[in-house]
Subunit: 123 residues, 2 copies
Amino acid sequence: MLQRFNFKNGLIHAIAQHRQTGEVLMLAHMNEDALRRTIETKRAHYWSRSRNRIWRKGEKSSNEQIVHEIRVDCDGDAVLLKVDQIGGACHMGYMSCFYRDVDGNVLAEKVFEPEKVYGDVSR
Amino acid sequence: MLQRFNFKNGLIHAIAQHRQTGEVLMLAHMNEDALRRTIETKRAHYWSRSRNRIWRKGEKSSNEQIVHEIRVDCDGDAVLLKVDQIGGACHMGYMSCFYRDVDGNVLAEKVFEPEKVYGDVSR
């Protein structure tokens, strides 16, 4: 399987998309192990470049991503996950991390209170 | 505007999504100038990491992306473009670059003949 992938510095890009609404939820990264765990458990696992470790989406927030389909792009350096998103994907409380336009206007409603789920979210 | 963005090594990620169907078309990168040109011209411009230059999507193939909306993600290192895609997005002839599953099965039909548009596509 892994010969289809083109890991750069050990990582590929991973886009999560809501499988019902088609909404693009977030962009993160995976190393080989995160990809393998995602395929095996059908729960999205990513590589955190800031914390330098694998994390399972929802491990703290319970906002898991149940993975129904994984697509690979033409040059093998990105995957697209079609997921059921529990709660919301964004640590700021929104369904999608893409909740603002380029002028900073917020275009979505919060779906959960991030402080209750994550504690401090002031990053 | 640019203070909302978090360029890493001068680049942000850019996801293009078909604005009617919601299909995720491709993932690429932008530097500041590519983002500025995209906003100003409403045509997607990307930074090619392999060719080390800005390219306008469709400059060779005519498969332009007309950009109707740009979203920014929570940590400012990715944008989501909602586009009208002329022809198809993928240099392999598909609407989307994500035309395969992780086992390599092709899940889409070609929408154009890449050899006629690009010449050699054997990468």
